[in-house]
Structure formats: structure tokens, C-alpha cells
Symmetry: C2
Subunit: 168 residues, 2 copies
Amino acid sequence: MTLTEAKAQFISSWGAFGSHWGINRTMAQIHALLLISPDPITQDDIMEQLSISRGNVNMNTRDLIDWGLVDRVLIPGERKEFFTAEKDIWKVSTQIIKERKKRELDPMLKLLTQLEEIEGDKKDKEVKQFVETIGGIRKFGGQADKVLDVMIKADESWFLGSLLKFFK
Amino acid sequence: MTLTEAKAQFISSWGAFGSHWGINRTMAQIHALLLISPDPITQDDIMEQLSISRGNVNMNTRDLIDWGLVDRVLIPGERKEFFTAEKDIWKVSTQIIKERKKRELDPMLKLLTQLEEIEGDKKDKEVKQFVETIGGIRKFGGQADKVLDVMIKADESWFLGSLLKFFK
DNA sequence: TTTAATTTTCAATAAATTTTGAAAATTCAA
DNA sequence: TTGAATTTTCAAAATTTATTGAAAATTAAA
């Protein structure tokens, strides 16, 4: 397999992969392209390599920047803006965990806490099951929250090293 | 807040939550409804409570069954089929992890292994970055794979207990 | 069997999401 | 300043995904 084929394959698969994770396909493809680009590239480079419009590149690079996965880079003497992605996959994943925790897990836990305080007869079968289910999810989510916090703060080598030793 | 309001709120939020995780909104809503239903319910119950069509209920319950999150239940003396969901959230999440690992992580790791074997000058900057990125993701994914395998096999109390102690 | 109840399928339709591209806004060198 | 290069915005169009509902298939009681 040549580099060109492999690149195309990786970009396409990373895009499909991303769409299973609530990330839009093009955003994941742009991310893939940046991950394998040794030097920062421009909007036009991305447009050309992925055959997508300028507006599309603009919106999706902005989202990637909001997610903390991509940075704008200014190159002295160049008028255009350049983009580059964090290459350390550990940093990439902790960043994603951090953002998703903030955007999804934290609000869900807040809601569950509210939902547990419903009025009604605790002996009623419906009420009982509701409170139990919500309570169970909230507790589980709360523990996951703690574990993720440690992961986010942890240093890669320390964390994976210890975790694997722990699981051996 | 009354039970009725709380139920509606939970079903709606669980649906939105699910859509960030590659699960379709209606499938997640049906799952939510089953999670808080003390007894098994029928297709017609689901149609009525969520105001969706028979075909939609049928397809999505089938998917939930494929995911191992919902079971068909036969109630003696009843003609209709009933559905019920696993209520233990630990079991629910290990089941989801197991399925997603099989459907997404494993095929991705297989692809990455292939992509690492590209032809080309290893001193070329493009080739070098590609191999490094792919290698990094593959190694990380491989470790995640191992950790998830242990989680899937683990018992909840053992797992969370040990992990929290470990992180203390 | 026959028949009515129930479930499943799937083409048509609807809804949601993504993409485009051209106009507006911004930036910066001269 | 001016104006060319570049980026951003966003309404319209295209595409993708989800939903409907009625016909076909299946099931099980009579």
C-alpha cells in the first residue's frame, strides 16, 4: 500500500469512526488529515485534499479548535492562517474526555439529581422503579465522573503504566 | 415535580444523551422508558407513551435486543409480546462497552495494523509522520482494548471498589 | 384447517443534518 | 487611507437519516 492510499483509507475510516462518537464525519476527517500532516496546513490545503468547500472547512476547523484538538498557527511572512493538530494521542483523548464530561456527563448528573426528588408515594411500584433507576444511574455516573477526573489530571506514562500493572 | 413530568423529562434527556453516543434518539428513548417501567410492556404501550409508529417501535426494539439491552418476555395467557430492559446500570454499561468494542474498536485496530505497513522511504517527513501517528493510535487503542476486556469480565463491586481505592 | 390478532417489512415521506458558495466582514501590506 | 487577500457567515440546496403506515408475513386460538 502506498502512502497516498493509506492516507485516504485512514481519513475515510477516522471519519466513519468519529460519526459513531457524536462527531460529524467531516470534522473527524479534517482531524485525521491534520494528525498525519507533519507541518501546519491552510484552509485551501484542506479544501483540496478532502474536496470540500471553504465554508465547510471553516466551520469544522472552528469546532475542532473549540474542542481543543486543533490550533491556529501563524507562520512569519505568510498571510494565510495555518492549522495544526495535537499529535499525542493521550493528550487528544484526555481532551475529548474533558470536553464530553463537561458537555454531557455533568449536565446529565445535574438533571438526575433533580429527578430523584419527585413527589409521590414511595410505595407505588411506578414511583419506586423510577427512583431506583434514576438513583442507580446517578450513582454510577458519579463514580465515572470521579474516575474521569483522575484520568484527565493524570500523566500519560504514570497513568497507563499503573493501570496496566493494576489490571495484570 | 410529579412522576409524569419526571418521566417525560428523563425520556427526553436520555434520548438526547444517546444521540451523542452514536445511538439513535428514539432507540435511547425506548430504552429509557423500559428502564423506568417496573413491569414488561408491549409494542402498543411504547407506541402510545412515546407517540411513535408501530414500525418504528418494532425496528428500534429489535436493535435494542441486538445490543443485548432489552429482552422479549412471554407472559403466560397473553397473546402479545412484552419487552423488558436490564435495570442494573453496571450490566448495561458493560454490555454497551462490549458491543462497541466489537463493532468499532476491534475493526479500527485491525485497520491501523494494516496501515502501518506502507511502502515508502521512512526518512520522508510525510511517511514518518503517518507511521508515527498510526502507530501511536494503534498502541493507545491496544491498551484501551486490554483495559476494556478486564472491565467487561469484572464484577461491579470488585471493579469500582478497587478502582476507587486505587485512585484515592 | 380457518381466521383474527399480532408482528415484520419496506417503499414512500418527512425530518434533521450537512454542505455549498457567494456576499459580507475582516485583515493587513502598501 | 485603499484595496487585494483572506476569513467568516448563513440562507438555500443537497444529502443523510429517521419515521410512517399499510401490505405481507407470521402466529396461535378456535
